[in-house]
């Protein structure tokens, strides 16, 4: 096959065929990971008692029933997907600019903190004031937490892989201090923020869905528009594909780096704000989340495309939603979901192997901009 042939646009393929080509590797990865997960579940039955070859099937049946077995289960899956959509976008948007945001945890926590603190402060205001203000506080605090690693990278060259992880731990310390100190609400038996009052999000469908879920899904077309229909998006993608070319074209990679990381933080912050305002309604000093690594998995499985991210988030949301029933009925620890996630990523990373084994010529599973992330590891500032 010649180089020219490889680059020729696939003109005669139908949209459906293109969709299949795009999704075949992720689908095989998910299927393969479920099989590997099943083998691990089977092996673990040796440790707990009688070897039971039906255990994986029982476990997956419970998982499926927990996630899709009832209307309530389906709605819970969607609710669980909402923070993952925003988190996945927070990571995926970074990928597009050649940035690897492993700090979604910290940005999520700061967003949650902002929403919890400001929400309690405006609890007495009418809902149409309290809710936007609380959301905005969360988004801005998350954006600030994303701005820091962006600025550090642009101005000093400190790679975001290390700084964002450090900021995750620092966010935990900030929350521990503020919620046991200045933000502690009086009158509770443990340290927590005050009641949200009118800042609590309205719920729909028998209280199953909250407003934050709709905001998460609305973010998908907005980010798509930003990336592919706006000038800023074009600059983001150019910087991600080739920072040098972007600079020669008169763009400012340093500025784009800072702005993109701040936007990533904003999305993760919205995710945290939604969880507080819509679900937990307060924040305690040890509030934790698994959003950070989940978001990376979602962004990678979704190939850093907003629609892909939404689909991947729905898959992982369903797994998280169903895993509780699986633990109760089949006795399989919920952590198996993390193992399955990691295995999905493993298959995606080894997509060359999958494509060769299946004799398919599908595009690679990783967003191309990722190469910028790795290559920039030793090279300092983008400007």
């Amino acid at each position: 096959m010649t180089a020219a042939g490889a680059q020729a646009p696939p003109r005669r393929t139908s949209p459906l065929a293109r969709l299949l080509a795009l999704s075949i590797v992720p689908l095989v990865a998910v299927l393969g990971a479920l099989i590997v997960g099943g083998i691990i579940i089977f092996l673990s039955s040796f440790a707990t008692g009688e070897p039971d070859p039906t255990l994986p099937f029982q476990a997956y049946a419970s998982l499926f029933r927990g996630a899709f077995g009832s209307v309530r289960g389906i709605l819970f899956s969607i609710v669980s997907a909402a923070p993952l959509i925003l988190g996945g976008l927070a990571v995926g948007l970074g990928f597009k600019a050649g940035l690897f945001n492993i700090g979604a945890t910290g940005q999520f926590l700061m967003g949650a903190l902002g929403a919890a603190a400001v929400g309690a402060w405006v609890a007495g205001a009418p809902a149409f004031v309290a809710i936007p203000v609380a959301f905005l506080a969360g988004a801005l605090l998350g954006a600030a937490w994303g701005f820091i690693p962006g600025a550090l990278k642009a101005w000093t060259g400190a790679h975001e892989v290390v700084t964002t992880i450090m900021l995750n731990f620092i966010a935990g310390a900030v929350i521990g201090y503020l919620i046991t100190g200045p933000l502690e609400a009086p009158g509770f038996s443990f340290s927590r923020t005050g009641d949200l009052g009118n800042a609590v999000l309205p719920t729909y469908f028998d209280e199953a869905l909250h407003l934050g879920v709709f905001i998460a899904f609305a973010a998908v077309p907005i980010i798509w528009w930003l990336l592919w229909k706006s000038t800023l998006g074009f600059e983001i993608r150019t910087v991600g594909a080739n920072p040098d070319a972007a600079r020669y074209a008169g763009m400012r990679p340093a500025f784009i780096t800072i702005l993109t990381m701040s936007l990533c933080g904003l999305l993760a912050g919205l995710s945290g704000a939604g969880q507080i305002l819509g679900i937990s309604h307060f924040m305690n000093a040890s509030y934790g989340t698994s959003i950070g690594f989940d978001s990376i998995s979602v962004a990678l499985l979704g190939r850093a495309h907003p629609v892909g991210i939404m689909l991947a988030a729905l898959l992982f949301g369903a797994m998280r939603a169903g895993s509780g029933l699986m633990q109760i009925e089949a006795g399989i620890p919920v952590e198996i979901i993390d193992v399955i996630q990691a295995t999905i990523l493993l298959f995606l990373a080894a997509d060359v192997v999958i494509r060769r084994a299946l004799h398919i010529r599908a595009p690679g599973a990783e967003p191309e901009e990722l190469q910028t992330v790795s290559k920039s590891y030793g090279s300092g500032t983008p400007a």
Binding site: V161, V162, P333, L345, S374
Partner: protein
């Protein structure tokens, strides 16, 4: 001293220096111990990055190794039964089995990283991320499955070397001896490993080849060095150090396993590598610095400056304790931001190598 400490503004700085001198002897042995896993992780990072491979999976390798060490040592102890006979450093057979399990686990994960990033040419940062996520998932899963129902599982810890009586009273030398020698075997091994790696990397044929593969693999290939094989070997051998770091956490540090107990040390190790400009001794210096900030944070909470340093006590007493707890993370960011611009990575880091003629 009173007079100096009384100077406005600058006096507080002198008080801070005085306080540092005051607390340092007490925390020095702790610093060496706290630095051990970071330094070992950094050695793993150097083995990788000097060969041209980014490895952000050190955290996950460490966590898996810590888990494997604890589980293997505990199960061996349980199978053996009875009161174990401790050798030097209280090294029981169970503890040795634990260390071995840690090393093998980290080497296996390193082999996976090598395969993904060298043979498959997958993105190296993603490969490391997979290892981190898999480590959190697998250790959390197996912890719930195997360790939680078995609360008596455990094999204790290695014990520290005791200086002969009276040695620590020798001025200065005694203090240095106690700092370096009043340690368990794994922390003590760090010093040997760091010096050995420094010498090998800059004074041996292997070191020259490794550095050339990390800087300019094409040129190395041209003069007959097997780039792929050398990278494989170095990445897998680097896993030994990540394994030792993990074993330190469970078998020398705490004697137990908690989910996520590495707490970012694998990433701090990456910062130490950059701080040390990809030299083993420099990276160890970075690890000591980060460990010192951690130990200092602990010391402040146990023994605040007090009346001897009136101005300083007022300032430091006003800082929330959580700040001291997060000190290693804060210092890591500051150091990384301050040093990285002047620190140049091996040129081929993060770029997969493909022999000429194989390009598609």
């Amino acid at each position: 001293m009173e007079a100096i400490y009384g100077i406005p503004v600058i006096g507080v700085l002198f008080q801070f220096i005085g306080y540092l001198i005051d607390v340092t002897p007490g925390i020095a042995p702790i610093v060496i111990g706290l630095a051990a896993p970071i330094a070992l992780g950094a050695m793993c990072g150097i083995m990788n990055e000097r060969s041209g491979i980014v490895n952000i999976g050190i955290e996950g390798m460490m966590l898996s190794a810590a888990f494997a060490a604890f589980l293997a040592a505990g199960l061996f102890q349980q199978a053996q039964g009875g009161e174990p006979s401790g050798g030097p450093f209280g090294a029981t057979p169970a503890l040795m089995v634990g260390v071995l399990a840690a090393i093998l686990t980290a080497m296996a994960l390193s082999a996976l990283h090598a395969w993904l990033s060298i043979t498959i040419s997958a993105d190296q940062i993603i490969s490391g991320t997979i290892i981190n996520i898999a480590a959190i998932g697998m250790t959390g899963y197996l912890n719930r499955l195997l360790i939680s129902p078995n609360p008596r599982l455990g094999a204790g810890t290695f014990s520290s070397f005791d200086l002969p009586a009276g040695w620590e009273d020798i001025p200065i030398i005694g203090w240095i001896l106690e700092m370096f020698l009043n340690q368990g075997p794994l922390a003590m091994s760090v010093i040997v490993i760091v010096i050995l790696l420094q010498v090998l990397l800059f004074r041996s044929r292997w070191g020259l080849r490794t550095r050339s593969v990390g800087e300019h693999p094409r040129a190395a290939d041209t003069v007959g060095i097997n780039v792929i094989a050398l990278r494989y070997r170095n990445v897998i051998v680097g896993g030994i150090f990540a394994g030792l770091a993990g074993a330190y956490l469970t078998l020398e540090g705490t004697g137990s396993f908690q989910n996520g107990m590495t707490a970012g040390r694998g990433f701090i190790a990456l910062a130490a590598v950059i701080f040390g400009r990809w030299t083993p001794i420099g990276a160890w210096g970075g690890a000591l610095l980060f460990a010192f900030s951690g130990a200092f944070g602990q010391a402040v909470r146990i023994r605040p400056p007090g009346d001897g340093y009136p101005g300083l006590d007022a300032i430091m007493g006003g800082i929330p304790t959580q700040v001291y707890g997060a000190l290693p993370y804060i210092v890591t960011i500051i150091i990384l931001a301050g040093v990285v611009g002047r620190s140049v990575a091996p040129a081929a880091v993060g770029k997969p190598y493909q022999k000429e003629g194989r390009a598609a």
